[in-house]
Amino acid sequence: MTRESWTNFAALAVLAGVPLWAYVADEPFIITLATRAAIFALAGVGLNLALGLGGLVSLGHAAFFGIGGYAMGILASHAQAYAPMAEWPFLIEGTKSMPVIWLVAVIASALAALAIGALSLRTSGVYFIMITLAFGQMIYYFAISWPAYGGEDGLSIYVRNGFPGLNTLDPIQFFGLCFVILCGVLVLMRAVQNSAFGLALSAARQNETRVLSVGMMPYRLRLVAFVISGAITGLAGALFADLNRFVSPTMLSWQMSGEIMIFIIIGGVGRLFGPVIGAMVFILLEHTLGGLSEFWHVYLGALLLGIVLFAKGGVIGAIAGREKAHD
């Protein structure tokens, strides 16, 4: 095993071990924190496909995170109120079943990513950054001003949604669920990285002309990557909403997009496990720096600046060195 694999393995072990310890020590809040880290990691893994592999600097991924969250909120609130979502042309009922919610979250955020991506990917570079940001804002303002699902107040779900065979209200069981999903998606992403699609997408990032001249359409590759990326981030959004039993437009705000990106940069851009380590470090920082000063964002900013300017590889880069080349 390489040093990077060891680092990855250690990260997963810590992420799984801490809540187990907390379970034994009866510190349920630590489990909640670990769950939060796992979900943020998942959102980051989603973005990382577009950002790390595809080179698409999307500053609008909160849109998909939030859409996933709202998929959960809307379905569960209808189920909670026993009010069907639509009676015509056919009856659509709400649901409190996680698998169904996840499916809807993935489909909804994938469709949104398809629409946003189809337009945004006509451009590139700095245009792409600004346009994804602007589309994110558009959805944010829509969510705030559309009254049907709580607007700015958001939607509260009183009881966490259910998963067959599990008691999701038990923090450790819900953590387990999120952790398994994270691992599953990581396995999937590893496969995608090594697949024909991954090779071509990564080549399109490095040299668009090359990809064109071997008969592939970079636009199509990127759009597919953007859609998968949005769908994964959307799934994370649904889990995050279930963790909080609450969804609101804050999940759609552009600061959220920035934070998801921060997970990736802290961990290491383009590394499969970058967002996992990044999210863990971020949660840890929140916890410790937040305790030191009311103005901890200043320190977070300084740290981030330091990483960007002087330690480009992030945590994994520092530990494992330049095993995989990046520009």
């Binding site: 950002l51 600097v57 500053l59 337009l119 006509r122 451009t123 570079g125 700095v126 245009y127 950054i129 600004m130 346009i131 940001l133 602007a134 589309f135 804002q137 558009m138 303002y141 829509f142 705030i144 001003s145 559309w146 009254p147 552009w254 920035g258 990106m261 921060i262 940069i265 851009v269 103005f295 901890w296 964002h297 200043v298 977070l300 900013g301 300084a302 981030l304 600046l305 960007v308 300017l309 480009k312 520009d327």
Partner: protein, 305 residues
């Protein structure tokens, strides 16, 4: 009556557009010349407003406050350019986004540290408070009219600077070819610092002008920043002319949309539904405008392919 209201709204749209131009000009210039995307531009806007409010409170002079905003924002701009930004020119956009995002965190919380959490006070100078009557009997706030005129003057000044002066020639050369301009013997590092500080000064100036009729508070810059992004995407990144046209387009679209959409929906829906649908749509209107422009011109109205 309706015509008068419409004209007044046009003026409002114009005023909003002119403010957006002050924000966008610096952003687009910095991108055009240095290839840098600067998320912290909104922080410079905030710095201008805070400096103006602090000086106005200390001296009571609005003119001094405006000068303070220019000085503080350009100084802050030059400072971050020298220490941080110039390390980012050769980096990819991702690094630029993250580093300037980090700067937002530092500036916002730092300002709160210095000035506290409550909004500061900055008032319109007495001479410009209250309305003036325009031909046709339109009552319009004197201060807003002044903003329009000042903004247009700055726009003319910017065009003159870019097209008529030696600095402008250098800036344009820098947009065309960085190596060439270095070969011409221009001190490129100084030029970059100058351009960045100029953009910062414009943003700070805008912050101070607007701060007098809005509230001076932490986080005031980011909403404007995002609008400025929309402006330069529409106008074409790097183009001052594009920024100007884009700013007016966004200003007018937003203002008239807020005004007209609820009324239009009022024709087909009952009043309260019309108001909420109309307002929801109005808040999305400029983004829809941006999408439409992009479909037809992916590089913006005046962008270079």
């Amino acid at each position: 009556m309706t015509t008068l209201l419409f004209i007044e709204q046009l003026l409002n749209g114009l005023q909003f557009g002119v403010m957006l131009f002050l924000m966008s000009a610096g952003l687009t210039l910095v991108f055009g010349v240095m290839g840098l995307i600067n998320l912290a531009h909104g922080s410079l806007y905030m710095i201008g407003a805070f400096a103006a409010a602090a000086v106005a409170a200390a001296t009571g002079s609005f003119l001094l406050a405006l000068m303070a905003s220019l000085a503080a924002a350009s100084l802050a701009g030059a400072l971050i350019e020298l220490t941080i930004i110039r390390r980012l020119y050769d980096r990819d956009h991702l690094d630029q986004v993250l580093a300037t995002f980090a700067l937002i965190l530092i500036f916002s919380e730092g300002t709160r540290w210095l000035f506290g959490s409550f909004p500061l006070f900055l008032d319109v100078p007495a001479a410009l408070s209250g309305p003036v009557t325009l031909p046709g009997g339109i009552q319009y706030p004197a201060y807003r009219l002044t903003i329009i005129l000042v903004g247009l003057a700055v726009a003319v000044g910017m065009f003159a600077l870019i097209n008529r002066t030696r600095v402008g020639i250098r800036i344009r050369a820098g947009e065309a070819d960085r190596e060439m301009i270095a070969a011409l013997g221009v001190d490129i590092a100084k030029l970059y610092t100058f351009v960045f500080a100029l953009g910062a000064a414009l943003a700070g100036f805008a912050g101070a002008l607007v701060g007098a009729i809005q509230s001076v508070q932490v986080g005031m810059g980011e909403p404007v920043l995002i609008l400025a992004f929309v402006v330069i995407v529409i106008g074409g990144i790097g183009s001052i002319k594009g920024a100007f046209v884009g700013a007016l387009l966004v200003g007018l679209t937003d203002t008239l949309g807020r005004f007209l959409l609820p009324q239009m929906f009022g024709l087909i829906l009952e009043p309260s539904a019309a108001v909420s649908v109309g307002s929801a749509l109005a808040s999305m209107l400029i983004y829809i405008l941006m999408a439409v422009v992009l479909i037809f011109r992916p590089r913006g109205l005046y962008g270079v392919a």
